[in-house]
């Protein structure tokens, strides 16, 4: 699996801060710890996993697919689900550095949905929440409406990068389509930006990538893949530890390709079928008995510990 050097000098990790950042966004979050450059899920929020004592560790939380504005039978109360997750995150024994939200913040890209989501996420007691757009956030006018609420660096684009705790974080927009009838894509401009962003960084720098749609093809007939993901993977492959965090498919799946680990997360809104699930011809919301919904929604906590091979990561359902 992955091995890599400890984080380079000059990247002194305010791991606590990084963790807090993640925590901001998670509703039902997974807590991630980046250690030695490889994120590892620690366990669900509310669990004690994120509170480990590794000096310099960076813990953050991933939430995804809140679909604020959705109100069908599959989940008549998505706001309640988000609030449940945020309460879990706020109750973590160690405040995460931040929270990341991997897209589909809204259900229909409506300004009132973005506004509501932004207000709700302020209930997270973390420093920041980092978002990337989902295809539900770009329905009518591309990323324009989304950016009015979630333009993180003020540059008017939905992709960005930042460094924290010795970890390089990259947020990508892979939900726009450039060619009819194909999967959505990153596009040439963004790939050029990514190449420049990664250029000159030490291969030992742990990299965490946020993108809504999986960066590998999970199930093409349902659009569960990124048309030009191979080009992004080629840029990421030289790094010793790469963790890709996706949403979109509302369930946890993993794939490992060399030093690159890809993880999809649970939603905070409603479940979707398994990829290509027999008897279900399309990726629409699945309605389950009310008592079971919380088991299928959740968050992810990640912790990166300098010098350790893997990022620890733990998925926790709202029913934990």
């Amino acid at each position: 699996m992955r091995t890599f050097d400890s984080t380079p000098p000059g990247h002194d990790p305010s791991r606590r801060q990084a963790l807090r950042c993640l925590a901001t966004w998670s509703g039902a979050a997974v807590v991630w710890t980046v250690a030695g450059g490889v994120p590892r899920a620690l366990g669900a929020t509310g669990a004690t996993g994120a509170s480990g004592g590794d000096a310099g560790a960076l813990t953050f939380v991933q939430i995804s697919d809140t679909h604020i504005g959705f109100r069908k039978d599959a989940n008549p109360d998505v706001v309640g689900s988000l609030r449940h997750a945020m309460a879990d995150i706020n109750a973590m024994p160690q405040t995460p550095a931040f929270v990341v939200h991997t897209g589909d913040v809204s259900h229909l890209s409506k300004p009132e949905e973005f506004g509501r989501a932004r207000e709700l996420l302020k209930e997270l007691r973390v420093d920041r929440v980092h978002t990337v757009p989902g295809e539900h956030d770009t329905i009518d006018d591309g990323v324009t409406g989304y950016l009015k609420y979630f333009d993180h660096d003020g540059k008017g684009r939905a992709y960005y990068s930042f460094d924290q705790g010795g970890v390089h974080f990259v947020g990508l927009n892979n939900v726009l389509n450039f060619k009819a009838g194909t999967l959505a894509a990153l596009g040439d401009d963004q790939l050029a930006w990514l190449k420049a962003d990664l250029a000159g960084r030490s291969a030992s720098t742990p990299v965490v990538v946020l993108a809504h749609i999986p960066l590998w093809t999970v199930w093409e007939p349902w659009g569960w893949g990124t048309a030009d993901s191979a080009q992004a993977m080629a840029l990421l492959r030289p790094f010793g530890s790469v963790t890709v965090l996706n949403g979109h498919i509302h369930q946890v799946l993993q794939k490992v390709e060399g030093n690159v680990e890809l993880h999809t997360a649970m939603s905070l809104a409603y479940p979707l079928p398994a990829p290509g699930q027999a008897g279900i011809g399309e990726p629409g919301p699945v309605t389950v008995p009310a008592g079971d919904l919380g088991k299928l929604l959740g968050t992810r906590t990640l912790t990166v510990v300098p010098g350790r091979e893997h990022v620890a990561l733990a998925d926790t359902s709202l029913a934990h």
Binding site: I139, G284, P285
Partner: protein, 127 residues
């Protein structure tokens, strides 16, 4: 749910011109009625299970096409040449467009670009 009216704006501007064209076409080509029964013909397309049903249509100029989203997931009807484009359609929302001129119009759902459909507008049946 958004109102029907707000979803129907896109083609209202062309309605008058279209109906005149349709009348002319109908007069010149009586057999047109086999495809589009009258100048005011309306054809419906359901958006269901992440597909357009039917996926392909052949219609006469002047025909109005009405799409209805029957999924719990939002979809759009967006032509590749940008000649028509719906907003995001929630469950039960409709979008309509009246096709004035012959041609082949491919469209997709911008939320799910693997969903594709085509409207063939033919002045003379069979062409």
């Amino acid at each position: 749910m958004r109102s029907l009216r707000s979803l129907l704006v896109s083609s209202s501007r062309r309605a008058a011109a279209v109906s005149v064209l349709a009348l002319c076409a109908a007069a010149a080509l009586p057999t047109l009625s086999a495809i589009a029964a009258s100048p005011a013909a309306t054809v419906t397309v359901d958006i269901t299970k992440f597909t357009y049903a039917p996926k392909e249509l052949t219609i006469a100029p002047g025909t109005r096409v009405v799409w209805t989203n029957k999924d719990e997931t939002p979809h759009t009807v967006t032509s590749n040449d940008k000649s028509f484009a719906s907003k995001g359609l929630d469950t039960g929302d409709k979008f309509e467009h009246t096709f004035a001129a012959p041609g082949d119009f491919d469209y997709i759902c911008t939320v799910h670009p693997f969903m594709t459909g085509t409207v063939h507008v033919r002045a003379i049946p069979g062409r």
